[in-house]
C-alpha cells in the first residue's frame, strides 16, 4: 500500500465507454464485403480482381491526396474510403475499363465526400455519386455485361478492362461469343426486353447470372449483412424496409397484371437491390438517425426503385432511389425528431 500522493489524472465523466468505434464499424463493413468481393472474383476472374483493386486504391489515394492538400489529418486509416472504393467497384460491370474505374473512385471521394467536408458531412453515399457519374459519362460501358464463369477467366482479362483512356473501349461481343454460353444475350436479367425473358429467381439468388461485379449473388450479400447485424453494426430496419416495400409493392402489381409486371421474388433478388439495401442504403452518414425516419427512408427507397424499374427508362433504379432518399434525409430528420420527454411537441417545432 502506498501512502505517497497519487498522481491523479483528471478526466471528465463518463469514465466508461461502449467498446465500439467508428473505425471498427468501417473495418467490419470492409470485412463483410470481402466474401462478396471474393465471389465476384471467382465468377468474373482477373477482370473483377483488377476492377475492385483499382476502385479501392483510387478511392484511398484520393482521400489521402485530399487530406494532404487541405492540410487536414490523414483519414485514410478510418477505412471509410476503402469501403467506398469496394462498394463502387462492386456496382460496376466486370468488363468496365480500369481507367474509368479510377475516374469513378476519384469522383466518389473528391465530389461525393471531400467537397462536403469529409466523413460524416456528406449528403450522398459517395460510392453512388461516383457510380452515377460513371453512368452519365460512360453509358455504354456501364451497361455492357459479360457472362460469369467463363473458362480461362483467371488467366486473361475481359478485353475492355485494359482499354486505353479516352479511346473507345474494345467491344466485348467476341469475348461473349467465345464464352459460348447458351442463349446469352449480353443483357443483365433486369434489362427487361418487354419482360419476356426473365432469369429464374433461384439463379439470381445463387449468383449464377451476369450482372455487376458484386451484385449477382444475393444469398452471399444477405449472409454478409447478417454478419454485420450480429455485430450490431447494421441497422436491420433499412434492408427490411427496402426489401419489404419492394416485395410488397411489386407483389401487388404482379397480382394485378402478371403479364406486365414481374413477380416480387424476381424484383427482390435481381439487380443491385440486395447490395444497395444492405450495404449502401445503410450507410449511417446518409441515412436518418431517428427511428421513424429510418422507416420512411427505407420504404421510400423501395417504392422509388420499383417505380423506376417498371415505369422509367432505366434498367436499374436502386442507385437513383438511394441517392434521392439521401437527398431528402435531412428533411425526413427534421420531420421525425422525437417528442422530447415531458413535452407534447417535437423538439424542432418549439423554438
Amino acid at each position: 500500500m502506498s501512502s505517497e500522493p497519487l498522481s491523479v489524472d483528471i478526466l471528465t465523466s463518463p469514465h466508461v465507454k461502449r467498446p465500439m468505434s467508428t473505425n471498427a464499424i468501417m473495418r467490419n463493413v470492409a470485412v463483410a464485403l470481402a466474401p462478396v468481393a471474393l465471389f465476384s472474383i471467382f465468377a468474373f476472374g482477373l477482370s473483377a480482381l483488377l476492377l475492385l483493386s483499382v476502385a479501392t486504391i483510387s478511392c484511398v489515394l484520393t482521400e489521402w491526396a485530399v487530406c494532404r492538400l487541405s492540410g487536414k489529418p490523414n483519414t485514410v486509416g478510418d477505412y471509410s474510403a476503402a469501403v467506398t472504393g469496394l462498394l463502387l467497384g462492386l456496382t460496376l460491370p466486370p468488363s468496365f475499363p480500369l481507367w474509368m474505374v479510377a475516374v469513378g473512385g476519384a469522383i466518389s471521394i473528391g465530389l461525393g465526400k471531400a467537397l462536403f467536408g469529409g466523413l460524416g458531412y456528406n449528403t450522398f453515399n459517395p460510392a453512388l455519386v461516383g457510380r452515377a457519374f460513371l453512368q452519365a459519362a460512360f453509358p455504354v460501358a456501364v451497361t455492357t455485361w459479360t457472362p460469369p464463369f467463363v473458362q480461362g477467366r483467371f488467366l486473361a482479362c475481359i478485353p475492355s478492362t485494359l482499354a486505353f483512356p479516352f479511346l473507345k473501349p474494345t467491344p466485348v461481343a467476341e469475348y461473349i461469343a467465345a464464352a459460348n454460353i447458351d442463349a446469352f444475350t449480353g443483357a443483365t436479367p433486369l434489362n427487361l426486353e418487354g419482360v419476356t425473358r426473365l432469369a429464374d429467381p433461384l439463379d439470381l439468388f445463387m449468383g449464377m447470372t451476369s450482372g455487376s461485379t458484386g451484385e449477382t449473388c444475393a444469398v452471399l450479400i444477405l449472409l454478409c449483412g447478417g454478419y454485420l447485424l450480429v455485430r450490431n453494426m447494421l441497422d436491420w430496419r433499412i434492408p427490411a424496409g427496402v426489401l419489404g416495400s419492394v416485395f410488397a409493392l411489386s407483389g401487388v402489381l404482379h397480382l394485378i397484371n402478371a403479364d406486365t409486371y414481374p413477380g416480387p421474388l424476381f424484383m427482390v433478388f435481381s439487380g443491385g437491390l440486395m447490395l444497395g439495401a444492405i450495404f449502401m442504403a445503410t450507410d449511417m452518414v446518409t441515412s436518418p438517425t431517428t427511428a421513424l425516419g429510418v422507416w420512411i427512408f427505407s420504404i421510400l427507397i423501395g417504392v422509388i426503385t420499383v417505380v423506376i424499374r417498371l415505369k422509367g427508362s432505366l434498367p436499374e433504379g436502386v442507385m437513383y432511389a438511394i441517392l434521392l432518399a439521401n437527398a431528402v434525409t435531412p428533411l425526413i430528420e427534421t420531420w421525425t425528431q422525437p417528442r422530447v420527454f415531458g413535452t407534447t411537441k417535437k423538439a424542432s417545432s418549439t423554438s
Binding site: S2, I10, T12, P14, H15, K17, V340
Partner: protein, 449 residues
C-alpha cells in the same frame, strides 16, 4: 388498495454499461474510523450554502450543529466528530474549486457518542413539523444529487402528492451502497417511508429496485410492515433507471413535464438511503454526520461498503482500503456521472455515494481519437429524454449555444452521459452540453447586470 402500476416496467432508450458490482455487493457495511482532521464544506448540497455558527478553537460534540441553513433551499451541517474547530477556511472540493469549510481536529480521547436532541414524537407531529425536522437533520438526496430533502417533501398550495417513490435502483456501475442498505436497514427504510407518506399526504409508496438485486427485492417484499401502503416493485436493470424522471416513468407511466418537478405529476421521490437516515435521525432530532459509501474499483485492494464520517479526506479512506500501484484516477460517485478529483485532499460530502479508483488499464482502454459524427443514431437511441445529442453536438461545435437551449431542449439534458457512452466516434457530447449550459448561464448573468 389497487396496484395500478406496471411491474417490471421500464423507460425507453437508455444504455447497458457493464455492472461491475460483484466486488462489493456481498460486502456488509463496515464502519470506518475517524481521520485526524475532518473538513466539512458549507456548500455540499444544491442551494444556498450553510452559514457557520462555530468559531475557531471552539470545542464541538459529535453531532453538534456547526452551520445553519442559509435559506429555504439549504440545510444545516453537524459536526461529524467530537473535537476542536481549527479554522474556517477555503478547502478544495470535488469540483476542483475552493469553497469555505469548517476544519475539525478530531479529539482522540472523546467518546464520540452522537449528541441527542429532545425526543421527537413522529406519530403526533403535523406534516409541517416533519418537514422542518427533516431540514434540521441536514438531510439531502444521498443518491448523489444532494438536493435538500425537505424541499421535496414540501407540498405547495394547490399541489397534491399521491405516491411516494423510494429509489433503490442504483443504476450506476460499481455502486452497491444502496443495495447493502436495503439488505441491512430495511426497518429504517420502511420507517422513513412512513414519515414521507405522512409528510406529503400521499396514499401509497412504491420501492423501485432494479432486477439485478433480487435478494433485496425478495427481502423487502416479504417484510413490508402490516398496515402500511408500501409496495415493492422490480424495474429493469438499465442506466439511467435511477434518475427520478425515469423511475417515475417506469413505475407509474407518468412523464415529468419538461422543466418541471416530480411534484407536477403528484410524485415525491427519495433515495432509499435518504429515507433510512431520516428514520434514524428524526426521533432524537439528530443531524446527518455519516453515510455509507461504496469504495471500489480495480485500483482498490479492499473494496467494500463503508460507513464513513462526512468530511473524511479521500486520502484517509484510500489509505485504509489500500490502492494498487497502478491506480491512476479517483472518481466520486459512479463512472457514468461522477467527477474525477484532482487531489486526494478532497473530503467526502453528503452526496458522495461511491469512491472509485481506476487504474492505468482503464485509462488506456479509453478511446483517445475522436472521429466525425457518422450520424449512426446510437446517441438518439440512447437518450432517455428523447433529445437528439448528435444534432446538439453539431450545434455545440458551432458554438450555437443559444439555439441549443431554445430550439433543442438543451436544458432538459440531465447529463446522464448515455449518449457519450455509446458514441462510436468518441465525441465528448455530454462535455459539450455542460460547456453549453454554463456558457448560457454566464450569458444570462451578464445580461442581467
Amino acid at each position: 388498495m389497487a396496484q395500478n402500476f406496471v411491474l417490471g416496467h421500464t423507460f425507453s432508450h437508455g444504455v447497458h454499461p457493464p455492472e461491475h458490482k460483484k466486488g462489493t455487493r456481498t460486502e456488509p457495511i463496515e464502519r470506518l474510523g475517524f481521520a485526524p482532521t475532518l473538513v466539512v464544506p458549507l456548500a455540499q448540497h444544491i442551494g444556498a450554502p450553510a452559514k457557520a455558527v462555530v468559531a475557531k478553537k471552539q470545542e464541538v460534540a459529535r453531532g453538534e450543529l456547526i452551520a445553519e441553513a442559509g435559506g429555504f433551499v439549504s440545510v444545516p451541517m453537524h459536526a461529524p466528530a467530537a473535537g476542536t474547530v481549527t479554522k474556517i477556511d477555503l478547502a478544495l472540493i470535488a469540483s476542483g474549486s475552493m469553497a469555505p469549510a469548517v476544519y475539525i481536529k478530531v479529539d482522540p480521547e472523546a467518546s464520540q457518542e452522537a449528541l441527542e436532541g429532545e425526543p421527537f414524537d413522529i406519530e403526533a407531529a403535523a406534516p409541517g413539523d416533519l418537514v422542518g425536522a427533516v431540514q434540521q437533520a441536514g438531510l439531502v438526496g444521498l443518491g448523489g444529487a444532494a438536493f435538500p430533502t425537505h424541499v421535496k417533501m414540501t407540498v405547495p398550495e394547490g399541489k397534491t402528492i399521491d405516491t411516494v417513490l423510494a429509489n433503490g435502483c442504483e443504476c450506476e456501475p460499481y455502486l452497491t451502497c444502496d443495495h447493502r442498505l436495503m439488505l441491512e436497514q430495511k426497518d429504517e427504510l420502511f420507517a422513513g417511508l412512513a414519515i414521507a407518506l405522512k409528510a406529503t399526504g400521499a396514499d401509497r409508496a412504491i420501492i423501485g429496485i432494479e432486477d439485478n438485486k433480487q435478494d433485496a427485492l425478495a427481502l423487502l417484499r416479504d417484510s413490508v410492515p402490516h398496515g402500511l401502503p408500501i409496495f415493492v416493485a422490480p424495474v429493469k436493470t438499465k442506466y439511467p433507471q435511477g434518475a427520478e424522471k425515469m423511475l417515475i416513468k417506469a413505475l407509474l407511466n407518468r412523464e415529468v413535464p419538461s422543466g418541471g418537478l416530480p411534484m407536477d405529476v403528484n410524485v415525491a421521490c427519495f433515495n432509499v438511503s435518504t429515507l433510512a437516515q431520516m428514520a434514524a435521525l428524526l426521533p432524537k432530532r439528530q443531524g446527518l454526520i455519516e453515510r455509507v459509501v461504496t469504495v471500489t474499483g480495480p485500483g482498490v485492494r479492499k473494496p467494500g461498503n463503508y460507513l464513513i464520517p462526512l468530511g473524511t479526506p479521500l486520502q484517509f479512506i484510500l489509505d485504509h482500503v489500500g490502492l494498487t500501484d497502478d491506480a491512476r484516477q479517483v472518481i466520486l460517485g459512479g463512472p457514468m456521472m461522477g467527477p474525477s478529483v484532482s487531489s486526494l485532499d478532497v473530503p467526502t460530502t453528503k452526496g458522495v455515494s461511491g469512491i472509485l479508483a481506476l487504474t492505468q488499464k482503464e485509462l488506456d482502454d479509453r478511446p483517445k481519437q475522436v472521429y466525425p459524427c457518422i450520424k449512426c443514431g446510437s446517441c438518439v437511441e440512447a437518450c432517455p429524454l428523447y433529445l437528439n445529442p448528435s444534432l446538439l453536438g453539431a450545434l455545440a461545435r458551432k458554438e450555437e449555444y443559444e439555439a441549443m437551449e431554445q430550439g433543442y431542449h438543451l436544458n432538459d439534458c440531465f447529463e446522464c452521459a448515455s449518449c457519450t457512452y455509446v458514441c462510436p466516434s468518441n465525441i465528448p457530447l455530454v462535455q459539450y452540453f455542460r460547456i453549453a449550459k454554463s456558457m448560457n448561464r454566464e450569458r444570462k448573468a451578464a445580461k442581467r447586470k
